[in-house]
Protein backbone atom coordinates (compact mmCIF):
# COMPACT_ATOMS: atom_id res chain seq x y z
CA UNK A 1 0.00 0.00 0.00
CA UNK A 2 1.14 3.49 -0.76
CA UNK A 3 2.52 4.74 2.55
CA UNK A 4 1.93 8.39 1.68
CA UNK A 5 -1.74 7.78 0.84
CA UNK A 6 -2.20 5.87 4.10
CA UNK A 7 -0.75 8.71 6.19
CA UNK A 8 -2.87 11.34 4.42
CA UNK A 9 -6.01 9.18 4.71
CA UNK A 10 -5.45 8.61 8.43
CA UNK A 11 -4.73 12.31 9.01
CA UNK A 12 -8.14 13.15 7.50
CA UNK A 13 -10.26 10.31 8.87
CA UNK A 14 -8.84 9.90 12.40
CA UNK A 15 -9.95 13.34 13.71
CA UNK A 16 -13.43 12.73 12.23
CA UNK A 17 -13.65 9.28 13.88
CA UNK A 18 -12.53 10.71 17.24
CA UNK A 19 -15.02 13.61 16.96
CA UNK A 20 -17.88 11.24 16.13
CA UNK A 21 -16.89 8.82 18.92
CA UNK A 22 -16.94 11.64 21.47
CA UNK A 23 -20.08 13.32 20.12
CA UNK A 24 -22.27 10.23 19.78
CA UNK A 25 -22.42 9.80 23.54
CA UNK A 26 -23.64 13.35 24.14
CA UNK A 27 -27.00 15.04 23.80
CA UNK A 28 -26.48 17.67 21.07
CA UNK A 29 -29.17 19.88 22.61
CA UNK A 30 -27.50 19.94 26.01
CA UNK A 31 -25.28 22.96 26.57
CA UNK A 32 -23.60 23.22 29.96
CA UNK A 33 -24.56 26.36 31.83
CA UNK A 34 -21.63 28.66 32.54
CA UNK A 35 -23.49 29.74 35.68
CA UNK A 36 -23.00 26.45 37.53
CA UNK A 37 -20.44 27.07 40.26
CA UNK A 38 -21.00 30.83 40.01
CA UNK A 39 -23.12 33.16 42.20
CA UNK A 40 -26.79 33.08 41.22
CA UNK A 41 -27.95 36.32 39.54
CA UNK A 42 -29.97 38.23 42.09
CA UNK A 43 -33.56 39.23 41.42
CA UNK A 44 -36.50 40.90 43.07
CA UNK A 45 -39.78 39.88 41.50
CA UNK A 46 -43.44 40.38 42.42
CA UNK A 47 -45.27 37.27 43.55
CA UNK A 48 -48.41 36.11 41.78
CA UNK A 49 -51.60 36.88 43.67
CA UNK A 50 -50.74 40.35 44.86
CA UNK A 51 -48.15 39.25 47.40
CA UNK A 52 -45.16 41.47 47.95
CA UNK A 53 -41.97 41.19 45.95
CA UNK A 54 -39.45 38.49 46.85
CA UNK A 55 -35.73 38.88 46.41
CA UNK A 56 -33.30 36.00 46.10
CA UNK A 57 -30.79 37.81 48.33
CA UNK A 58 -33.30 37.78 51.20
CA UNK A 59 -33.24 33.95 51.11
CA UNK A 60 -29.49 33.71 51.63
CA UNK A 61 -28.66 31.10 54.28
CA UNK A 62 -30.98 28.39 53.01
CA UNK A 63 -30.97 26.22 49.88
CA UNK A 64 -33.17 27.62 47.13
CA UNK A 65 -34.74 25.80 44.19
CA UNK A 66 -35.67 28.19 41.35
CA UNK A 67 -37.98 26.63 38.78
CA UNK A 68 -38.73 28.47 35.51
CA UNK A 69 -42.12 27.41 34.20
CA UNK A 70 -45.30 28.44 32.36
CA UNK A 71 -48.90 27.24 32.17
CA UNK A 72 -48.61 26.60 28.40
CA UNK A 73 -45.70 24.22 28.98
CA UNK A 74 -46.91 20.60 29.00
CA UNK A 75 -43.89 19.11 30.88
CA UNK A 76 -44.37 21.82 33.55
CA UNK A 77 -47.85 20.45 34.16
CA UNK A 78 -46.50 16.99 35.00
CA UNK A 79 -43.67 18.50 37.05
CA UNK A 80 -45.94 20.75 39.13
CA UNK A 81 -47.22 18.13 41.63
CA UNK A 82 -43.67 16.82 42.14
CA UNK A 83 -42.45 20.31 43.03
CA UNK A 84 -45.52 20.97 45.19
CA UNK A 85 -44.99 17.78 47.20
CA UNK A 86 -41.25 18.37 47.46
CA UNK A 87 -41.78 21.92 48.73
CA UNK A 88 -44.32 20.68 51.27
CA UNK A 89 -42.03 17.94 52.57
CA UNK A 90 -38.70 19.79 52.46
CA UNK A 91 -39.40 22.68 54.79
CA UNK A 92 -35.74 23.72 55.07
CA UNK A 93 -35.51 24.29 51.31
CA UNK A 94 -37.10 27.36 49.70
CA UNK A 95 -38.82 26.62 46.40
CA UNK A 96 -39.55 29.49 44.00
CA UNK A 97 -41.37 29.38 40.70
CA UNK A 98 -40.43 32.01 38.11
CA UNK A 99 -43.13 32.34 35.49
CA UNK A 100 -41.86 32.70 31.94
CA UNK A 101 -43.86 34.34 29.14
CA UNK A 102 -47.28 33.98 30.70
CA UNK A 103 -50.08 36.10 32.13
CA UNK A 104 -50.99 36.49 35.77
CA UNK A 105 -54.65 35.45 35.31
CA UNK A 106 -53.49 32.21 33.64
CA UNK A 107 -51.08 31.53 36.50
CA UNK A 108 -53.67 32.26 39.17
CA UNK A 109 -56.17 29.96 37.51
CA UNK A 110 -53.55 27.20 37.14
CA UNK A 111 -52.44 27.49 40.77
CA UNK A 112 -56.03 27.56 42.01
CA UNK A 113 -56.69 24.30 40.17
CA UNK A 114 -53.39 22.53 40.83
CA UNK A 115 -52.27 23.88 44.19
CA UNK A 116 -49.58 26.23 45.30
CA UNK A 117 -47.24 25.47 48.19
CA UNK A 118 -44.53 27.99 47.29
CA UNK A 119 -44.41 31.46 45.70
CA UNK A 120 -44.57 31.94 41.96
CA UNK A 121 -42.96 35.12 40.68
CA UNK A 122 -43.75 37.10 37.52
CA UNK A 123 -40.79 37.67 35.19
CA UNK A 124 -42.02 40.38 32.83
CA UNK A 125 -40.17 40.26 29.51
CA UNK A 126 -38.19 37.20 30.56
CA UNK A 127 -35.41 39.36 31.93
CA UNK A 128 -34.48 37.05 34.77
CA UNK A 129 -34.75 34.04 32.46
CA UNK A 130 -32.15 35.70 30.22
CA UNK A 131 -29.93 36.44 33.23
CA UNK A 132 -30.09 32.71 34.10
CA UNK A 133 -29.43 31.63 30.51
CA UNK A 134 -32.76 29.82 30.24
CA UNK A 135 -33.36 28.06 26.91
CA UNK A 136 -36.88 26.84 27.55
CA UNK A 137 -39.21 25.75 30.30
CA UNK A 138 -39.07 23.89 32.57
CA UNK A 139 -35.57 24.59 33.78
CA UNK A 140 -34.56 24.42 37.43
CA UNK A 141 -31.60 25.90 39.27
CA UNK A 142 -30.37 24.62 42.62
CA UNK A 143 -28.78 27.36 44.69
CA UNK A 144 -26.87 26.57 47.86
CA UNK A 145 -27.17 28.64 51.09
CA UNK A 146 -24.20 30.80 50.08
CA UNK A 147 -26.00 31.83 46.88
CA UNK A 148 -23.94 29.69 44.48
CA UNK A 149 -25.60 27.74 41.68
CA UNK A 150 -24.83 24.08 42.35
CA UNK A 151 -26.75 22.54 39.44
CA UNK A 152 -29.08 23.26 36.56
CA UNK A 153 -31.69 20.80 35.37
CA UNK A 154 -33.35 21.01 31.97
CA UNK A 155 -36.75 19.38 31.55
CA UNK A 156 -39.23 18.08 34.13
CA UNK A 157 -37.91 16.82 37.44
CA UNK A 158 -38.98 13.74 39.35
CA UNK A 159 -38.89 13.39 43.12
CA UNK A 160 -35.69 11.29 43.12
CA UNK A 161 -33.84 13.85 41.03
CA UNK A 162 -34.89 16.67 43.36
CA UNK A 163 -33.65 14.68 46.36
CA UNK A 164 -30.33 13.99 44.60
CA UNK A 165 -29.82 17.67 43.81
CA UNK A 166 -30.74 18.73 47.36
CA UNK A 167 -28.31 16.15 48.72
CA UNK A 168 -25.64 17.53 46.40
CA UNK A 169 -26.29 21.01 47.80
CA UNK A 170 -26.09 19.69 51.38
CA UNK A 171 -22.85 17.84 50.66
CA UNK A 172 -21.36 20.99 49.22
CA UNK A 173 -22.43 22.82 52.35
CA UNK A 174 -20.76 20.18 54.55
CA UNK A 175 -17.65 20.23 52.35
CA UNK A 176 -17.38 23.99 52.56
CA UNK A 177 -17.84 23.84 56.32
CA UNK A 178 -15.16 21.17 56.62
CA UNK A 179 -12.86 23.28 54.44
CA UNK A 180 -13.23 26.23 56.79
CA UNK A 181 -10.34 26.38 59.28
Amino acid sequence: MNRKALVIGLAITLPIIVLLAVSFGRDPHKVNSPLVGKPAPDFTLPAVGGQGPISLASLRGKPVVVNFWATWCVPCFSEHPVLQNSAASMRDVQFLGVVYDDTEPNIQKFLAQNGSSYPSLMDEGGRIAIAYGVYGVPETFFIDPSGMIVAKHEGPLDYGQIQDYIQKMSQKKVASREGTP
Binding site: G50, D101, Y135
Partner: protein
Protein backbone atom coordinates in the same frame (compact mmCIF):
# COMPACT_ATOMS: atom_id res chain seq x y z
CA UNK B 1 -59.07 76.69 52.91
CA UNK B 2 -59.53 72.94 52.96
CA UNK B 3 -62.85 71.60 54.06
CA UNK B 4 -63.06 68.52 56.30
CA UNK B 5 -64.28 66.39 53.38
CA UNK B 6 -61.34 67.46 51.21
CA UNK B 7 -58.90 66.75 54.05
CA UNK B 8 -60.40 63.30 54.48
CA UNK B 9 -60.10 62.61 50.73
CA UNK B 10 -56.48 63.79 50.74
CA UNK B 11 -55.63 61.56 53.72
CA UNK B 12 -57.36 58.62 52.04
CA UNK B 13 -55.37 59.18 48.85
CA UNK B 14 -52.13 59.23 50.86
CA UNK B 15 -53.14 56.02 52.62
CA UNK B 16 -53.88 54.31 49.28
CA UNK B 17 -50.54 55.38 47.89
CA UNK B 18 -48.77 53.86 50.85
CA UNK B 19 -50.65 50.55 50.56
CA UNK B 20 -48.82 47.32 49.53
CA UNK B 21 -50.62 47.15 46.17
CA UNK B 22 -49.28 50.56 45.20
CA UNK B 23 -45.80 49.56 46.35
CA UNK B 24 -46.05 46.42 44.25
CA UNK B 25 -47.03 48.41 41.16
CA UNK B 26 -44.00 50.57 41.71
CA UNK B 27 -41.81 47.47 42.00
CA UNK B 28 -43.17 46.18 38.67
CA UNK B 29 -42.60 49.40 36.84
CA UNK B 30 -39.12 49.84 38.27
CA UNK B 31 -36.97 47.97 35.76
CA UNK B 32 -34.38 45.57 37.10
CA UNK B 33 -31.08 45.44 35.28
CA UNK B 34 -29.51 42.04 36.00
CA UNK B 35 -26.73 42.95 33.55
CA UNK B 36 -25.48 45.58 35.98
CA UNK B 37 -24.32 42.93 38.47
CA UNK B 38 -22.44 41.13 35.68
CA UNK B 39 -20.85 43.88 33.61
CA UNK B 40 -21.11 46.85 35.96
CA UNK B 41 -22.23 50.35 35.11
CA UNK B 42 -22.80 51.44 31.49
CA UNK B 43 -19.56 52.49 29.79
CA UNK B 44 -21.07 54.20 26.75
CA UNK B 45 -23.57 56.87 25.80
CA UNK B 46 -27.30 56.18 26.15
CA UNK B 47 -28.78 55.81 22.66
CA UNK B 48 -32.19 56.78 21.33
CA UNK B 49 -34.11 57.24 18.09
CA UNK B 50 -32.65 56.02 14.79
CA UNK B 51 -29.23 55.44 16.32
CA UNK B 52 -30.78 53.08 18.86
CA UNK B 53 -32.62 51.19 16.08
CA UNK B 54 -29.44 50.81 14.02
CA UNK B 55 -27.29 49.69 16.95
CA UNK B 56 -30.00 47.29 18.17
CA UNK B 57 -29.96 45.62 14.75
CA UNK B 58 -26.15 45.48 14.70
CA UNK B 59 -25.71 44.09 18.22
CA UNK B 60 -28.74 41.74 18.13
CA UNK B 61 -27.37 40.29 14.88
CA UNK B 62 -24.29 39.16 16.82
CA UNK B 63 -26.29 37.22 19.43
CA UNK B 64 -27.41 33.69 18.59
CA UNK B 65 -31.02 32.74 19.28
CA UNK B 66 -30.61 29.86 21.78
CA UNK B 67 -33.73 28.01 20.61
CA UNK B 68 -33.22 28.37 16.83
CA UNK B 69 -30.97 26.83 14.22
CA UNK B 70 -28.26 29.35 13.36
CA UNK B 71 -30.43 32.46 13.59
CA UNK B 72 -29.55 35.64 15.43
CA UNK B 73 -31.96 37.12 17.96
CA UNK B 74 -32.53 39.94 15.47
CA UNK B 75 -33.71 37.54 12.74
CA UNK B 76 -35.69 35.08 14.81
CA UNK B 77 -39.39 35.48 15.64
CA UNK B 78 -39.14 33.10 18.67
CA UNK B 79 -40.33 34.55 21.98
CA UNK B 80 -36.95 33.95 23.57
CA UNK B 81 -35.23 35.82 20.72
CA UNK B 82 -37.74 38.69 20.93
CA UNK B 83 -37.08 39.00 24.67
CA UNK B 84 -33.33 38.99 24.10
CA UNK B 85 -33.69 41.60 21.34
CA UNK B 86 -35.64 43.82 23.72
CA UNK B 87 -32.94 43.31 26.33
CA UNK B 88 -30.27 44.40 23.81
CA UNK B 89 -32.31 47.50 22.95
CA UNK B 90 -32.92 48.33 26.60
CA UNK B 91 -29.26 47.96 27.51
CA UNK B 92 -28.17 50.14 24.56
CA UNK B 93 -30.69 52.80 25.58
CA UNK B 94 -29.13 52.80 29.06
CA UNK B 95 -25.63 53.32 27.69
CA UNK B 96 -24.22 49.79 27.76
CA UNK B 97 -21.63 49.14 25.07
CA UNK B 98 -21.67 46.31 22.52
CA UNK B 99 -18.82 44.60 24.37
CA UNK B 100 -20.66 44.79 27.70
CA UNK B 101 -23.87 43.42 26.18
CA UNK B 102 -22.12 40.51 24.46
CA UNK B 103 -20.21 39.75 27.69
CA UNK B 104 -23.49 39.71 29.61
CA UNK B 105 -25.10 37.20 27.25
CA UNK B 106 -21.94 35.10 27.17
CA UNK B 107 -21.87 34.93 30.99
CA UNK B 108 -25.48 33.69 31.01
CA UNK B 109 -25.56 31.34 28.02
CA UNK B 110 -21.91 30.58 27.38
CA UNK B 111 -19.83 31.33 24.32
CA UNK B 112 -22.35 29.40 22.21
CA UNK B 113 -24.57 32.49 22.22
CA UNK B 114 -22.03 34.54 20.26
CA UNK B 115 -22.47 34.19 16.50
CA UNK B 116 -18.88 35.33 15.98
CA UNK B 117 -16.52 33.30 18.16
CA UNK B 118 -14.03 35.40 20.08
CA UNK B 119 -10.38 35.37 18.97
CA UNK B 120 -8.92 33.49 21.93
CA UNK B 121 -7.75 30.01 22.90
CA UNK B 122 -8.90 27.16 20.66
CA UNK B 123 -11.13 29.62 18.75
CA UNK B 124 -8.09 30.66 16.77
CA UNK B 125 -8.49 27.36 14.90
CA UNK B 126 -11.94 28.50 13.73
CA UNK B 127 -10.52 31.78 12.47
CA UNK B 128 -7.30 30.44 10.98
CA UNK B 129 -8.48 27.09 9.57
CA UNK B 130 -10.28 28.66 6.54
CA UNK B 131 -7.15 30.66 5.69
CA UNK B 132 -4.95 27.58 6.10
CA UNK B 133 -7.30 25.52 3.91
CA UNK B 134 -7.36 28.29 1.31
CA UNK B 135 -3.54 28.35 1.26
CA UNK B 136 -3.44 24.54 1.00
CA UNK B 137 -5.93 24.66 -1.91
CA UNK B 138 -3.81 27.29 -3.65
CA UNK B 139 -0.70 25.15 -3.16
CA UNK B 140 -2.43 22.08 -4.65
CA UNK B 141 -3.78 24.08 -7.62
CA UNK B 142 -0.33 25.51 -8.25
CA UNK B 143 1.07 21.97 -8.39
CA UNK B 144 -1.69 20.83 -10.78
CA UNK B 145 -1.19 23.76 -13.19
CA UNK B 146 2.59 23.33 -13.12
CA UNK B 147 2.20 19.68 -14.12
CA UNK B 148 -0.05 20.68 -17.03
CA UNK B 149 2.40 23.32 -18.18
CA UNK B 150 5.19 20.72 -18.74
CA UNK B 151 5.40 20.22 -22.58
CA UNK B 152 4.30 16.77 -23.65
CA UNK B 153 6.91 14.94 -25.70
CA UNK B 154 5.54 14.63 -29.23
CA UNK B 155 5.66 11.31 -31.07
CA UNK B 156 7.94 11.15 -34.09
CA UNK B 157 5.78 11.84 -37.16
CA UNK B 158 5.00 8.70 -39.13
CA UNK B 159 6.35 9.21 -42.63
CA UNK B 160 6.71 5.67 -43.90
CA UNK B 161 3.59 3.56 -44.62
CA UNK B 162 5.08 0.49 -42.88
CA UNK B 163 6.61 2.42 -40.01
CA UNK B 164 5.19 1.62 -36.55
CA UNK B 165 4.59 4.18 -33.77
CA UNK B 166 7.25 4.51 -31.08
CA UNK B 167 4.79 3.60 -28.32
CA UNK B 168 5.06 -0.22 -28.09
CA UNK B 169 1.43 -0.61 -26.97
CA UNK B 170 0.18 1.52 -29.86
CA UNK B 171 2.45 -0.37 -32.23
CA UNK B 172 0.89 -3.66 -31.08
CA UNK B 173 -2.62 -2.30 -31.75
CA UNK B 174 -1.55 -1.17 -35.24
CA UNK B 175 -0.21 -4.65 -36.01
CA UNK B 176 -3.42 -6.29 -34.73
CA UNK B 177 -5.51 -3.90 -36.85
CA UNK B 178 -3.44 -4.67 -39.91
CA UNK B 179 -3.85 -8.40 -39.30
CA UNK B 180 -7.63 -7.99 -39.05
CA UNK B 181 -7.73 -5.87 -42.19
CA UNK B 182 -5.43 -7.87 -44.44
CA UNK B 183 -5.65 -11.38 -42.96
CA UNK B 184 -1.89 -11.83 -42.45
CA UNK B 185 0.11 -11.38 -39.28
CA UNK B 186 1.15 -7.75 -39.12
CA UNK B 187 -0.81 -7.19 -42.36
CA UNK B 188 2.14 -8.33 -44.41
CA UNK B 189 1.58 -11.06 -46.96
CA UNK B 190 4.05 -14.01 -46.96
CA UNK B 191 5.21 -12.85 -50.46
CA UNK B 192 6.14 -9.43 -49.22
CA UNK B 193 7.59 -10.81 -46.02
CA UNK B 194 10.03 -12.79 -48.08
Amino acid sequence: MMTTTRRFAFALALLLCASPSWAQTQTRTKAQIPAASVVGAPQGQPLSGTQLDVRTKEVASLVRCPVCQGLSVYDSPATMAVNMRHEVRDLLSKGYTEEQILTYFEKSYGEFVLLQPTMRGANWIVWLAPLALLALGGFILRGVFRKKAVPVEQDRPVTDRDQLPDDPRLARYVLEARELAYGWPGGVSPDHRA
